[in-house]
Symmetry: C2
Subunit: 436 residues, 2 copies
Amino acid sequence: MRLSRYFMPTLKEDPKEAQIASHRLMLRAGMIQQSSAGIYSWLPLGNRVLKNIERIVREEQDRAGALEILMPTIQPADLWRESGRYDDYGKEMLRIVDRHDRDMLYGPTNEEQVTDIFRSHVNSYKDLPLNLYHIQWKFRDEVRPRFGVMRGREFLMKDAYSFDLDYEGAKIAYNTMFVAYLKTYARLGLQAIPLRADTGPIGGDLSHEFIILADTGESEVFYHKDILNLKTPEGDHTPEELQALVDEWTSYYAAADEMHDADNCGVAEGDLVARRGIEVGHIFHFGEKYSKAMGATVMGPDGKEITVSMGSYGIGVSRLVGGIIEACHDEAGIVWPEEVAPFKVGLINLKSGDEACDAACEDFYAKLQAAGIEVLYDDTSDRAGGKFAKMDLIGVPYQVTIGPRGLKTGVVEFKTRKSGEKEEITPEAALNRLVG
Amino acid sequence: MRLSRYFMPTLKEDPKEAQIASHRLMLRAGMIQQSSAGIYSWLPLGNRVLKNIERIVREEQDRAGALEILMPTIQPADLWRESGRYDDYGKEMLRIVDRHDRDMLYGPTNEEQVTDIFRSHVNSYKDLPLNLYHIQWKFRDEVRPRFGVMRGREFLMKDAYSFDLDYEGAKIAYNTMFVAYLKTYARLGLQAIPLRADTGPIGGDLSHEFIILADTGESEVFYHKDILNLKTPEGDHTPEELQALVDEWTSYYAAADEMHDADNCGVAEGDLVARRGIEVGHIFHFGEKYSKAMGATVMGPDGKEITVSMGSYGIGVSRLVGGIIEACHDEAGIVWPEEVAPFKVGLINLKSGDEACDAACEDFYAKLQAAGIEVLYDDTSDRAGGKFAKMDLIGVPYQVTIGPRGLKTGVVEFKTRKSGEKEEITPEAALNRLVG
């Protein structure tokens, strides 16, 4: 992509309305624009990151055997009356009356709707286990939306729902998602820690939040330092292997502020770490809560009716854009993990209009494109300092700068955004590193 | 995908509520489920087709130089008050009041919002031309939603908006989209015809609807028979080439019922064809309608302020799923064009549980997957007749049937869904055809 033909309205000054790093940097990098309180338009750069995260989340859900569907944003109130949540939900639910005076709502979540799909079509134990997910916009009418996309009103979420014959089956579904989440965050370039979460009236121990560490995180977390040394699982797993993995990851102490008990956490002082974190996912076994209320049953092997056991598994996709920035930024701007970066390479022409510089840049640009590498080529006539600052701000992992002086000795500058390391190497060597 | 682990709730009987072929077939094939009037959940099979169409539309928009953004579904009413459409729009607009009593709406279209993005960031003629598009859910509160996804209330649409300095620039943008649409429909396996559409108070001749032919189409269209012989453009084009292409495609008579004038159409009787069609896209130059009302201006080369010239370009993505089925089905079910098919191949095990059949199917399945071919493997213990009928119904382009009798002589049955042709060939030959 040529910057001269791109739409990336960066800001030089910090916007006043932004209180946290990700909000500030997303506005400054021209990733988003506020439409109304807590509601954003995603500009080209932001949309690219959002789509990358969505793709990775989808691939890991597919790999874990979940089936993708797509439920609508607008739901009938009657479904929520069946579960009893229509009255319980309060003002966070955006309630709507259509032209025929029917009560509708903009879905804040989809337990009722997916349970309705299930009960309409699934009748036999033979059709289980089943895990249905979708990636769809949701709406929560927060009283005070803030922190940009971290706590917006309209947000993109992946939510999966599992259906099993019994608790044992539901536990396998739960463990499958637990491990899929570990893989997802690792692919996003994040170090995630599962925290045991409150199960409320449901009880049991099958509820975990996943947090990522970030100095600017919203809440404090406490954990045994060795949990960071665990290796992310790879490949496929039997139910037994899944259980062993979950046991391993949950054997280390990890708790959010409100669940932490300093005196009884059982971790030696030297092993306990306190840091800030950001919640980026939540998995939850809720058993028969919805299936019972809404009559989601199947015929068992013995001909008896069985109320199915369910769980839900959420990842905030749009929230993750902000979360990743909170975890991955420095003074100069965003530092994208490679898999989610909007472009892998920023190509800087130090002297646009100079015949030799233009030719060398065009050649480099064409070769990267031919190799399928996503590159943003700054072909504008801006000052060199402005070009460097812009590439640092938007956080592309690698920058290649081509200028008249380097061309004379046959080198380009190759900068790695994360380390800040700069090297003078030949264009061929730079290409090899990026394509290799 | 193994059918035994898939969620594809097909129906044997025609559902009573469906009046047209696509609605009937989408319900029967387990592609969608109604959530409320005119609002649908997309089940796994339907979601796959939707995503395929979305991908092709996106690729052709990108190729045409449009930049993808993503605007939210919920918009502030104030924007629509600026353009004057908040009061004009009537009951089709889903109006919402949020918890702070602010007037909001579920966007039926995005002219106001994209103009707001433009005026917030673009100040100079140097930043033009610009074409921003998004693929997002929209809502129109139809008084009588019907025909399934063809006329739903919540629907997925690609809408692009072009910004240019003057009419000449806008015309190039228009022609670019005109040609991109021809390419898009061709890739979707459709023969599309551009019809000159009403420009209303805007005037001029820059408004076209694209229709596809289908015997079950909603409206009658009249056209010169030779327009079907035109070749879809390929590759990139200069502005002059674009104009020549548009001139060529619009040189043939083509009009919808309400625009058709039998006495003055200038087509000899033998050349005029009357058929049924379905509208699947609309492009429209509306000039300064929104930019003037909302103050979207740029500084021109001479330092003077210029109100930008705009156009909009829509493709109904979810509507196309139904439209394609209307154009591509027969007595037995859907006949998907290969590029949008949910799976390319249906693999039928004629005797699941039989050791030789299972082994041959597993081997074939593994080889297709290794080659990256999307395959639905019917590994269930259903009757053969039911398996054949199901594959015909869901319309996968190729069916491979493996049974005990064929295995003895080393052959499988290879069926092409569109022609109905069946051949007995070796598994290797079948693989070569599918992978090749």
